[in-house]
Symmetry: C2
């Protein structure tokens, strides 16, 4: 863990272990990807932005469920939000997100 002990440089690792706090953040990030509903939402909006209700329709799930999960995605900066009239459109935040998913897919499909 975050050993900042100057005397202990016996560490022959190439990768330095990040601070504990970073590791917690990292786990929290992956936690967001670790739910099938959120994964499906991310796929659904990966090409086009979509309104909440159309995501719900598309996945055959309740609007409330989708909204709750979109909040999680929002809080973790994984989606972009745009309001247009009564509707709110969501899209993936950046290609970063897609790449993480692709990496996971590679592992799952291999």
């Amino acid at each position: 863990m975050n050993i900042t002990n100057p005397t202990a440089d016996i560490n022959k690792s190439n990768h330095e272990m990040p601070d504990l706090e970073v590791l917690f953040d990292l786990a929290d990030l992956f936690k967001v990807f670790g739910d099938s509903t959120r994964i499906r939402i991310m796929f659904t909006i990966s090409d086009n932005e979509m309104s909440v209700q159309s995501i719900a329709d598309s996945l055959n799930m309740e609007q409330s469920t989708i909204s709750h999960q979109l909040r999680v995605l929002r809080q973790n900066k994984l989606v972009r939000v745009r309001r247009e009239g009564k509707q709110i459109y969501y899209s993936l935040d950046d290609d970063h997100v897609k790449r993480i998913i692709e990496m996971g897919l590679d592992h799952v499909l291999e």
Copy 2:
């Protein structure tokens, strides 16, 4: 993607949505990365294989806790196992795993 023009866009997907089963597997994979103990274990063994007890010592956690989590990593093919006498040595399965973590780190640290 990220079409900001709301007028009559044709929904032309570039990415096909994988089967539901694959999406579940994908979520399950990320679920494994979504725990700080497992993340820390993965960092700990990312450079050198290590025995269960030395991982536990290194993280200041119970042998049982580490063993339980190593099982999860094993079941998801994220670690390699090698027995040598009484000890069992664990290492990361492949660079794939590292790359997934690196991707996540990029997002967390940005």
